[in-house]
């Protein structure tokens, strides 16, 4: 059945010389479907496809109240869509009010939107969750007819998506029969996303738009080979500049913010022609980012050095080249990034990969092969996380008294929570109500109380305010704002608290592409002045580091098996041969362990190829065993392919370290007390409402009244190790940061075949690891020995006696 476009729309398309894409027509045809998922490549007119049915339904002006809710993962995207919709709505003179509502919307606008909602409201998962927490939510959402979730593939990978789907379940209760529409980039498994977004157990209709022509993608050829080690791709700057010159607008993607900063700095130094080039990443101030975005849309920039902050949705002007610097880590994300180039339907995107070091040449080659084979990687997510569930129970309580039975029924209609056991739900409710502690201390001060009629409600209505302040699943990191010194100093961005603590006045560092001099800390803002220095430090940002996927790692190990590597550049072939001569090459069914002295410390390098998170866990488990064995490990660092450990004593025998039973036992014991668990606990405890975000803020202000979440973790571990939050933390860590599953996979394929190679110096493969950032200290005997020595040195230097 084909639904014709109303004449006004046909005329409008005609005057523009546009035709409806087949998938846009298909979306109109299936507008009545309760759940509809569209996957289309970037530039495929997805958003318009999503909105067309709403615009058509609202065209006659008879509908009042909220009709369509649009949810995007980015505030900026919501604002951008509002502007883009304004054009057709104005030109067709449609009687439709469209507004956005995000954290940036003013208080008065928000009040007015609640009293008199527009027909189309554009928002984010967090703002939606907040809206559902108000007592008047039933009135706001009554009559809601369609919900459009944009970039659902990105949301589906995180807790923001889980929160959103619980909010949708709530909306379904408030507006039964609402239709759900998901808009997604090309993904490996559309039905999996469909199951997440549909009301369980309703089916979902899936529309897959033509993926378009294959991208034009290759590795950037440079005169100078990539360095032996390190990251950032600085060697490639002349070649990159040359490409920028040849194209209209180039997006230069980096994996981390720090690398983007360094690259931008050097790109600018080499930019003799003064090409307009900008930088964009999540740690820059909003003002900075908005300026770059505006310049980009206006076509004033020839290149933008960026990170994942430009991964999503917004139409950033006329991009005709994407350059990915550093190993792509994930084939699916690489494909989506490539799609940023050429925002025209059915035109091939053009992309170049720039490996940052020789190892990444191998990774890039593996990724190229995968992209050409359209072999996307996907990692299934487990069942819906219970910390999000706890937050949602509290949100429900803010909106008014609720019945546990109905809330349970509502929540299990969200795909990710469909298999939630009633006992688990009850435990979450108990946690929200009483804290859920073995020692029942809060009978008088329960957060939620059950009324005589059986409904649950907040004991103290004032708690609603605090709960609302805590809504969301995005983790604030401990960052400090950076500002130019002086009255009304320009905000530049944020750096990690730990980095700020390492600065002394006079130090210089890079931020937002500028070198600045640290002047001091003023009311918890880092004050800086402009300053030129030759060797600035690099600010530490808490950007996300993705683990390379199993698919990519397998492709790499497969490649290493070859006798020779005719596809790879000569320098890389030589390097692989050198590693083979000096030590040996890692193999898929063996585990290579190297040990060597370097810089006065004993080093051990383990090539597990298990992905960054699993290698990180391996580092924690191995250092723990080494501590017991008296090797006094001091720290370690992990990449996707290896873990490098350093300590005071050399490793004699590697085999016992990798005994599986020992590792598993170690996991149980170790899980209890380590930094990764504490970090995971902090995230889950914040989401579940045990730690308040404003408490974290207060800690930044240096007040002694607030304390670290580590103390809560240690306390629970000692007195209540089976507490719900400890259970959630273990579960989260195992599938997230700990990723023990991939260690087991690695041990399976290796099955005891360990090659311990003892060297007298660092090996060609281990060298890059020495320069990796993200070193994890081991707080053991070795550290205590060093702390004592360091204190003695400082005292002696200051002329003080012990």
């Amino acid at each position: 059945m084909s639904a014709p476009l109303p004449p006004a729309f046909q005329d409008w398309f005609a005057t523009r010389g546009w035709d409806l894409h087949p998938h846009q027509q298909a979306m109109l045809d299936r507008a009545a479907a309760p759940a509809l998922l569209l996957t289309a490549p970037t530039g495929g007119g997805k958003t318009l496809a999503g909105f067309l049915p709403s615009l058509v339904e609202l065209a006659d002006g008879t509908r009042t109240g909220l009709h369509t809710l649009y949810i995007s993962p980015l505030k900026a995207l919501a604002a951008d869509i509002r502007r883009n919709l304004a054009t057709p709505v104005a030109e067709m003179a449609l009687p439709i009010r469209i507004e956005d509502r995000t954290g940036d919307t003013s208080y008065t606008s928000k009040r007015r939107q609640r009293a008199d909602p527009p027909q189309i409201l554009l928002t984010t998962p967090e703002s939606l969750a907040l809206l559902t927490s108000y007592e008047d939510a039933p009135r706001i959402f009554a009559g809601l007819s369609r919900v459009i979730i944009d970039e659902i593939h990105a949301l589906a990978e995180s807790k923001r998506g889980d929160q959103l789907m619980l909010a949708l379940a709530r909306l379904e209760t408030l507006a039964p029969g609402l239709r759900r529409v998901g808009l997604s980039a090309t993904v490996d498994d559309p039905p999996a996303i469909g199951r997440l977004m549909a009301r369980h157990p309703d089916p979902v209709e899936i529309l897959e738009a033509d993926p378009g022509p294959a991208p034009d993608i290759r590795m950037l050829e440079t005169e100078e080979p990539p360095p032996w080690s390190g990251g950032g791709g600085r060697y490639a700057i002349p070649a990159v500049l040359c490409e920028v010159r040849k194209h209209r607008t180039t997006l230069i993607f980096h994996n981390t913010r720090a690398q983007a900063e360094i690259f931008f700095h050097h790109l600018w130094l080499a930019n003799d022609e003064g090409l307009p080039i900008g930088i964009h990443h999540g740690s820059l101030s909003r003002e900075q980012r908005e300026r770059v975005e505006a310049a980009m849309v206006a076509g004033e920039l020839r290149a933008i050095v960026c990170t994942g902050s430009l991964d999503l949705g917004i139409d950033w002007g006329d991009v005709d080249l994407v350059i990915q610097v550093g190993g792509p880590k994930n084939v699916k994300r690489l494909v989506q990034r490539i799609g940023r180039a050429n925002h025209r339907y059915n035109a091939p995107s053009k992309a170049l990969l720039v490996p940052a070091n020789r190892f990444e040449i191998i990774e890039c080659q593996a990724a190229l092969d995968a992209v050409r084979a359209r072999d996307l990687d996907g990692a299934p997510r487990g069942p819906g996380p219970r910390d999000v569930l706890c937050q949602h129970i509290l949100i429900a309580a803010c909106a008014g008294p609720f019945s546990a039975d109905s809330l349970f029924a509502e929540m299990t209609s969200a795909g990710a929570f469909a298999d939630l056991a009633r006992a688990d739900f009850d435990a979450c409710l108990e946690f929200c109500a009483t804290g859920g502690y073995a020692f029942r201390a809060y009978d008088r001060w329960q957060r939620l109380k059950q009324r005589p009629d059986g409904l649950w409600q907040l004991r103290d209505p004032r708690a609603a305010q605090r709960i609302r302040m805590n809504i969301g699943t995005i983790q604030d990191t401990d960052t400090l704002k950076v500002r130019m010194k002086g009255r009304g100093g320009k905000p530049l961005g944020e750096v990690e608290e730990g980095f700020a603590a390492s600065l002394t006045p006079g130090d210089s560092f890079l931020i937002g592409g500028q070198i600045v001099r640290y002047e001091g800390l003023r009311e918890m803002t880092v004050e800086v002045t402009r300053h030129a220095a030759d060797r600035p430090k690099v600010a530490v940002f808490n950007g996300t580091k993705f683990a390379a996927t199993t698919k990519l790692m397998d492709r790499i190990l497969e490649m290493l098996r070859q006798e020779d590597w005719p596809d790879l550049p000569d320098h890389t072939r030589d390097w692989l041969r050198l590693q083979r001569d000096v030590s040996r090459l890692p193999e898929r069914d063996r585990l290579l362990v190297e040990s060597f002295p370097f810089d006065g410390r004993a080093h051990v390098c383990v090539y597990g190829f298990a992905g960054r998170n699993a290698q990180q866990t391996l580092g924690l488990l191995l250092t723990r065993r080494m501590e017991t064995a008296g090797l006094a490990p001091l720290g370690f660092v992990s990449t996707d392919y290896a873990t490098l450990i350093w300590g005071l004593e050399p490793l004699r025998d590697a085999t016992p370290l990798f005994d599986r039973g020992g590792l598993r036992d170690g996991l149980a014991g170790w899980l209890a007390s380590n930094a990764v668990m504490k970090r995971t606990f902090r995230a889950s405890a914040t989401i579940a409402g045990l730690i308040e975000r404003n408490t974290i803020g207060a800690r930044k202000n240096g007040r002694q009244a607030t304390f670290s979440s580590d103390i809560l973790y240690d306390t629970l571990l000692k007195y209540d190790p089976d507490h719900l939050l400890m259970e959630i933390t273990r579960e989260e860590a195992l599938r997230g940061l700990v990723d023990f599953g991939r260690i087991e996979e690695m041990l399976d394929r290796v099955s005891g075949r360990i090659d311990h190679v003892r060297l007298d110096r660092v090996s060609p493969f281990a060298a890059p690891l020495l320069l990796e950032v993200g070193k994890v200290p081991v707080l053991g005997e070795g550290r205590e020995r060093l702390v004592a020595a360091e204190a003695e040195r400082l005292m002696a230097a200051a002329g003080l006696k012990m």
């Binding site: 009483t434 804290g435 502690y437 020692f439 201390a441 809060y442 008088r444 001060w445 957060r447 004991r459 103290d460 004032r462 708690a463 605090r466 603590a501 002394t504 006045p505 409402g689 045990l690 730690i691 308040e692 800690r699 240096g702 007040r703 002694q704 009244a705 607030t706 304390f707 670290s708 103390i711 809560l712 306390t715 629970l716 000692k718 007195y719 209540d720 507490h723 200290p777 707080l779 550290r783 205590e784 060093l786 702390v787 004592a788 360091e790 204190a791 003695e792 400082l794 005292m795 200051a798 003080l800 012990m802």
Partner: protein, 218 residues
């Protein structure tokens, strides 16, 4: 070693790894900022429900110090309770535990900004206490009187990437770390703390390896 010897105002003291201060000659043990009842107070005020174990944990560590040293005098240097209502809200078992610790000793509760009022627990409740060359008060005075021992600021220092509670000491002042479990810390480089002590001040870290370092390292 469970402590580090320290000569202050002519008295030979020991900065204990636990964060307590021991004056062997006077058989005097001093702990500061216990903040007992912190979790209960937050719950009472409609905040989140923190693990209700911090009072037991704090008492356990205090008990261990008393057991190890058997002091004749115990000084709790203020902010022993998180607010004035926290004392009455004390779990009966914890009250009994405290009473057992107090029994047979000269127990002195110094008033703090969190717990200014009198307590129903045994012991003396004082604004300040002088003993020989030392004077104990909760908050350091604006003018440093020689021999002053205080708490309140929860001093903390970072060394080798590790943040630890610490004693902060110069010629005339000694500031104790917080002893309570649910307490945060203020960096010794924070202006409020740095302004209180002289340039030659030292920090003595608590924890498994006790070290002493210059407070003004920048």
């Amino acid at each position: 070693m469970n402590g580090m010897p320290l000569t202050f105002a002519g008295a030979t003291l020991e900065a204990r790894a636990s964060g307590a201060l021991w004056w062997a000659d006077a058989r005097l043990l001093c702990v500061s900022d216990l903040h007992l009842g912190k979790a209960e107070r937050q719950a009472r005020r409609g905040g989140s429900l923190l693990p209700p174990y911090e009072t037991a944990e704090t008492l356990e560590r205090l008990d261990a110090e008393i057991e190890a040293l058997s002091p004749g005098i115990v000084i709790c240097l203020g902010d022993s309770f998180d607010d004035t209502a926290s004392e009455s809200a004390l779990d009966p078992a914890h009250r009994l535990w405290l009473s057992r610790l107090i029994a047979g000793r000269d127990w002195i509760w110094i008033a703090g900004n969190h717990d200014p009022g009198p307590l129903s627990l045994a012991g003396r409740h004082l604004a300040e206490y002088d003993a020989g060359p030392l004077s104990f008060r909760h908050i350091a005075g604006a003018e440093a009187a020689p021999g002053e021992i205080s708490g309140h600021y929860h001093p903390k220092a970072r060394l080798g990437g590790v943040g630890r509670r610490c004693f902060l000491v110069d010629e005339s002042r000694l500031i104790l770390p917080a002893f309570g479990t649910y307490t945060g810390g203020m960096s010794i480089t924070a202006p409020e703390l740095a302004a209180l002590v002289s340039k030659t001040a030292r920090a003595i870290l608590t924890g498994p390896t006790q070290v002493i370092l210059p407070a003004a390292r920048a």
